[in-house]
Subunit: 437 residues, 2 copies
């Protein structure tokens, strides 16, 4: 395969450390970025697909480092509730009845459609029936790190918790080598829903397969109270004591940390992913991202699932990440726009184990998005800050993943959007019908 | 004039206290809402303009209770700085050179375009050369409360501060009766930029003309330190001592209040407008909206100007308003979605003095917007919470103001968008050229 795409007359945002480059071209070759430069050096390229980038901005596709894609079905079902109540009284009961393989496939595909239309090209997911999510994200054209859920309760597809490790291993072994766009992982739900033994077995399984290991941790005050004991254990120290922290571990949330927790994370090499809109909506708190960053901990960004946010638009998430750190510290320089952009691109790539993703550079993966700059809310354009503070996902016009065009002028080449929405509406009608009856 | 619009097959959101009404129709008559009902009662209406609302939601136009429209020119010019530095080192110097009548007209028109495309039908503005803003908002088809700025420094159009009250009076007398869509007002910049005498003269002028009186107050810790004195005066007590607070006074920001300040505001009948994204971005703080609301103070919502937000999308603002109150109080029920919707509709209408605006009801003003529901990020739709947590301004397809269609399928009937953006780009090039040279 020798496919090539040539984008001309475009404004380039290569990475958060580089100023915008006006009037440039970029060429892909196969699945990678080949080269780019100013328009007076544009190559002749007779065999390439041509895209006119006039009045558009070309940037790396955004990376969503934490989602539960299939939970689009539960978006808006139970808002304005705190985490424990939301989870135990609403989400877990709804999941017990309404999660099945077909639901996971279509509701994950809906999430993929929403993410692609808002410029996300890679997503890390954690849920059950994860082979369905993997297939949906693969079919939708995305790059993905689907991770099979492990929890010590009866779960969708794993009615007996004793089978949870075996189910995860079956997923890893089926999906580890299946497609270059899919990296199979493990998602242990949390220290308060998994026993120490389950956590250790889950991490050992991940180590055996050299797979990424995700876990929710230190999300709420409530969790902190459960895990804290008179010996001074915290959720992070609990995980560290079980030898779960290393460079392939991704700690999701990390809202409630103390200085000792941060030191442990920093020494372990583990990555952290914050989900600010979910933390706000569930009243969990504002993570101390600036303090973690100052220690050198890589802190990435995720949306969390649609039931606790309720948007998968990473542009919106970057904005709230940056603004939240400012208002928390009462320091307007606490998180500049470029740091939020880095979190959703190159830092997320690093945390998720991709060495050639998250910026525009020769030989990096051709995961790229175009935004329409010719809109009133993006005028004027003095620098790239607008990507955080003014842009939103609806500004995205085109998406390229692994060198393939997936979305062109907001029309999908990779999925049937009307069919996908129709299927999710069917599941939603069943859910609300049962809720009413 | 007997014009009428009939919208059919639509989902109606009449107000935050009423569930969504599926498959309805609504008819306008002249500048008002005439009637609405379920589709099996749809009237024959041969002379009406017909709009098919299938897969759309019809709701009251949003109201932006605080903006500095012309500051679109300064969007992105100086980000990630705290209020005093941002204002004194960047914004005031740029304004001294680059604000002129033509700039105010076109940059305000750009703001109008952005607001209309994101569903805002009414805006309260405060700036200089306010007659230009008034004209731009009038030309763009909006309902507006433009308020002439008063400040004890040399200001655009008012080089000698001794003329600031006279300039404001000239504006009021020229615009008070000019058009039914325009309500002329007074905007005193703040207690730290206006002397007590200026503040009292400004408020007396507003009283004389029965005009709304806006003032920035209690925005930052810095302001609080300046105004606080050993006798215990706070910015609010300072204003109350000057007899500035009554039902026609709108207090903008109110981030730093104590219980006594809140009691004074509540007794005065004054309205409060918060601008959460601006408060976050300038690291001012999170206003105690829940506490004010519990006292019965009407708390509305504004975006602030484009230089400190940097978006005029009120959907985004409602989302951050609700989520910010939850995370500040660590109580996920602190501000439900419906309260954020009320702030941007019926509460803002009340604060700004409109008795027949901000909800869908017979004889209310026909200021209406349509949203496209047939999009993945709005699936499924169990209730109206999605308007706060999932929707964004780009979902708006049609805008009706005062019974006139202003935007149809995202195309303007009221202004030339390309001309407007081109004019603002010209001013921006002059500004950044000078900054570079």
């Amino acid at each position: 395969m020798n496919k090539s795409i040539l984008i001309t007359n475009v404004t380039l945002f290569t990475d958060p450390g580089t100023p915008l480059l006006d009037n440039h071209w970029l060429r892909t070759q196969g699945k990678r970025i080949h080269s780019f430069g100013p328009m007076d050096t544009v190559p002749r390229q007779n065999d390439a697909i041509l895209i006119d980038g006039k009045n558009k901005l070309l940037m790396p596709g955004l990376i969503n480092a934490h989602n539960h894609c299939a939970m689009t079905l539960f978006r808006g079902l139970a808002d304005d509730l705190e985490l424990a109540n939301w989870l135990n009284e609403h989400i877990f009961p709804a999941e017990a009845v309404h999660v099945n393989p077909e639901m996971v496939y279509w509701c994950s595909k809906l999430a993929a459609a929403e993410m692609l239309l808002s410029g996300t090209t890679t997503v890390a997911d954690g849920y059950f029936y994860e082979e369905q999510t993997a297939q949906a994200l693969l079919d939708a054209g995305m790059r993905a790190i689907p991770a099979q859920g492990i929890i010590d309760f009866p779960a969708p597809g794993v009615p007996n918790p004793k089978d949870n490790i075996a189910a995860a291993e079956a997923f890893l072994s089926a999906w580890q080598q299946k497609n270059e766009r899919i990296t199979a992982g493990i998602f242990a739900h949390s220290p308060y829903t998994c026993s120490p033994e389950t956590l250790q077995r889950a991490k050992n399984l991940a180590r055996e397969y050299q797979a990424p290991f995700f876990i929710h941790v230190a999300e709420s005050r409530h969790e902190q109270k459960i895990i804290m004991d008179p010996q001074g254990t915290s959720p992070i120290r609990h995980l560290a004591g079980l030898d779960l922290l290393d460079q392939d571990t991704i700690l999701i949330h990390c809202v409630w940390l103390d200085a000792e927790d941060r030191r442990i994370i920093q020494e372990s090499g583990a990555g952290v992913v914050v989900c600010p809109q979910s933390h706000y909506k569930l009243a969990s708190g504002i993570a101390q991202v600036t303090e973690m960053k100052n220690l050198g901990i890589p802190v990435g960004l995720g949306t969390d699932g649609s039931a606790s946010n309720n948007s998968l638009d990473l542009f919106r998430e970057m904005d709230i990440l940056a603004k939240g750190q400012k208002v928390r510290t009462l320091d307007a320089s606490a998180m500049p726009a470029r740091n939020a952009l880095a979190a959703a691109t190159e830092i997320n790539a690093r945390i998720l184990g991709f060495s050639e993703l998250g910026r525009i550079a020769p030989d990096f993966m051709a995961d790229l998005i175009l935004l329409d700059l010719n809109q009133p809310h993006l005028q004027p354009c003095y620098n790239a800050d607008f990507l955080v503070y003014s842009a939103n996902g609806a500004d995205v016009t085109d998406v390229i993943i692994n060198g393939d065009i997936v979305l062109r002028e907001r029309k999908f080449l990779s999925l049937d959007l009307q069919e996908t929405m129709q299927m999710v509406r069917k599941f939603a009608a069943e859910l609300s019908g049962k809720a009413e009856g």
